[in-house]
Symmetry: C2
Subunit: 314 residues, 2 copies
C-alpha cells in the first residue's frame, strides 16, 4: 500500500494543494511536545477529501469518465468529488439524504454536481447508489472504503513527514478510517518507529471498539458535533488496514472537541471543523499522552454558521 500512496502523490501533484504545516508555541507549551499541524483545512474544497477523490477519479478510464461518477455523502467527500469532476470534465452525481443541511447540498451543487435525494429512514444509501450505477453506468467513488481513496488520503501524512522529518507520534481523526489508515501506512513507510494514533469522539467510538476487540462494531447517527465521524463503521478495506497499521485509538469528549476548535480559532487563528480538531482535542485533554515530536492531521475546515455559533457560545 505504501507504494500506492507514493503513486497517489504523483497523481495529485499540481491539482491538490501541498498544504502548509503550522506550529503553535502556545500548543507546544501546553502539551510539552513539539507539535506539527498539517493544515488540510487549507486543502481545496476545505478538507483532505480532495486527495482521495482526485486519486480515484483521475485514474478512471476515458470510458468510465465519459459515463460519469457517483458518490454518497452529505459532507466533505461530496464537495471533493464534485470539484474533482468539474476539474476533470466528468459528470458527478451525489446521493444525499433529504434532510442534509442546505449549505452542504448547495456546496456540492456549486461545484456542478447533480444531487439525488433519498429518505434515510427508508433506504440505505449504498443500495440506491448501486441501483443508479447499474442503470446509468456510473463509477462509484465511495467516501472511504476504496483502495485509491485510502491511498490519496495517505498523501497528507506523506507530505508532513517529507516536510518535518521523523515524528514520535502521528494523530489522525477517524470516521470511516480512510484518512487514518492512509496516514498510518504513510507513517510506517516514512518512519517505522512513529506511533500512529487514531482519535474518535467518545460518542462515535465504533472504530475504537473495533480496534480493541478485532471485531467490527457500529454506531448509528451518533450525536457528536464532529459530523465527519458519524460514519457507522469501518469499511471492508479500511478495517484490516487500521488493525494492521494503527498503534492505538483514543476517544475524546464533546467538550474537548469544542475546546480544541476554540483553541485553534482564537489562539492559532485557524478555522478547523470539529472532526478536524480531534487530534488537538486528544492533545489538550490529555487523552493521548504523547511526548517528543508529534504530527497532527487537521483534516478540514468546513463549518456552517450554526456549528460555529454553537462552539463560540459553549
Amino acid at each position: 500500500m505504501f507504494e500506492l500512496i507514493k503513486a497517489a502523490a504523483a497523481h495529485i501533484k499540481g491539482h491538490a494543494h501541498r498544504t502548509p504545516v503550522m506550529t503553535s508555541r502556545t500548543l507546544d507549551a501546553k502539551t510539552g511536545a513539539a507539535v506539527y499541524l498539517k493544515c488540510e483545512n487549507f486543502q481545496r474544497a476545505g478538507a483532505f477529501k480532495f486527495r482521495g477523490a482526485f486519486n480515484a477519479i483521475s485514474q478512471l478510464s476515458d470510458a468510465e469518465k465519459a459515463r460519469g461518477v457517483l458518490t454518497y455523502s452529505s459532507g466533505n467527500h461530496a464537495q471533493a468529488v464534485a470539484l474533482v469532476c468539474r476539474e476533470l470534465g466528468v459528470s458527478a452525481t451525489v446521493v444525499m439524504p433529504g434532510n442534509a443541511p442546505a449549505t452542504k447540498r448547495a456546496a456540492a451543487e456549486g461545484y456542478g454536481a447533480t444531487i439525488v435525494e433519498y429518505d434515510p429512514a427508508a433506504r440505505q444509501r449504498e443500495d440506491i447508489a448501486n441501483e443508479m450505477a447499474a442503470a446509468h453506468g456510473y463509477t462509484i467513488v465511495p467516501p472511504y472504503d476504496h483502495t485509491d481513496v485510502v491511498a490519496g488520503q495517505g498523501t497528507a501524512a506523506l507530505e508532513l513527514f517529507e516536510e518535518v522529518g521523523e515524528l514520535d507520534y502521528l494523530l489522525a481523526p477517524c470516521g470511516g478510517g480512510g484518512l487514518l489508515s492512509g496516514s498510518a501506512i504513510a507513517g510506517k513507510g516514512m518512519c517505522p518507529s512513529c506511533k500512529v494514533v487514531g482519535v474518535e469522539p467518545a460518542l462515535a467510538d465504533d472504530a475504537t471498539r473495533s480496534f480493541r476487540t478485532g471485531k467490527l462494531h457500529t454506531v448509528h447517527n451518533p450525536p457528536t458535533i464532529a459530523d465527519g465521524t458519524r460514519t457507522p463503521y469501518l469499511g471492508k478495506v479500511t478495517f484490516p488496514l487500521v488493525l494492521k497499521y494503527v498503534d492505538d485509538m483514543q476517544t475524546v469528549t464533546e467538550a474537548a472537541i469544542i475546546a480544541a476548535v476554540r483553541f485553534l480559532l482564537y489562539r492559532a487563528k485557524l478555522v478547523v471543523e470539529p472532526s478536524g480538531a480531534l487530534g488537538v482535542a486528544a492533545l489538550l485533554s490529555g487523552a493521548a499522552a504523547v511526548t517528543g515530536r508529534v504530527g497532527v492531521i487537521l483534516s478540514g475546515g468546513n463549518m456552517d454558521a450554526a456549528t460555529l455559533t454553537t462552539i463560540l457560545n459553549h
Copy 2:
C-alpha cells in the same frame, strides 16, 4: 528609511515569525487578480505589532532596558510590547483606558505587563505616559509614531516581496499609519513600480482625508468594528511618510469589512480580525480597482467572542 527596514529584518530574525503567504483560488476568481495574502494573523501575539515592538525595544541600551518600557494601547500593540518585554527580560507598563475590554487587559497581563488604568474622558493617554516616563525613567514605545516601530512594521511587506517577487499593487490597512508607511517604504524599495494603497473604514477616514488634502484630519472614537483603526490621526512621523510613499487611499463600508472577515473565515479558513481584513474588503467590494499581482497585508487575527458573534450573525 528603506535601509532601516532591512536592518529591522535582521533585528527581528529568529524572534518574529516569518509568516506564510497564502493564496485563494476563490479570491482570485472573484477579483480577477492574483492575490497574495501576507498572514500577520499568524504573527506572535496575533498581529504585525510584534515586529515594530521588537525592533524598537531590542535596540534600547542596557540601561534603558533596566528602567523598563511603557506604552499606551488597548489593543494589539499592548500585547506585542508585553510579549517582547517578557522575551527580553524588560519590565512593561501599559496605560490603558479603564473601559478597555477585559480580554484585552487580560491578554497584556498574561504576558506579564503591569496595567495602569486611566479615564479617557478626563485625560489624554500621552500625557499620562509622559508623566510616568519622567517619574520612573521608562522608555516610551508608542503604537505607531516612532521610526523604529515603522521600520519594524515594514518588514512584513519586505518578506512578502522576498517571497512572491514583483507586485502591481500592495494593500495595507491604515490606523495610525505605522504599518501603512512601513509597507509603502518597503514596497517602493523592493519594487518601485508597485502602487501602494492604504485602506480605512469609511467611518474612520481621517487618514484618507489627510492624504487627499495634505492637512491632518482627525476622527474621535469612530464606531467602526475595525478597532485597530480607531486611532484619531496619523502621527508626526507617519503622516509625512504616508504622503511621500503611499499612492492612494480607499475607504470601505462596515458591511464590506464584515463580508471580508466572513469570506476569510468560511472560504479561506483564516481567522482575521476586522482591521486585518480591510485590504480584502477593498478587493471584494471593488473599492480598490486593482488588477494583476496584488499583495494584501492581513494585519492581525485577534478577535473576541462578541466581535466574532456579531460578524457571524450579520
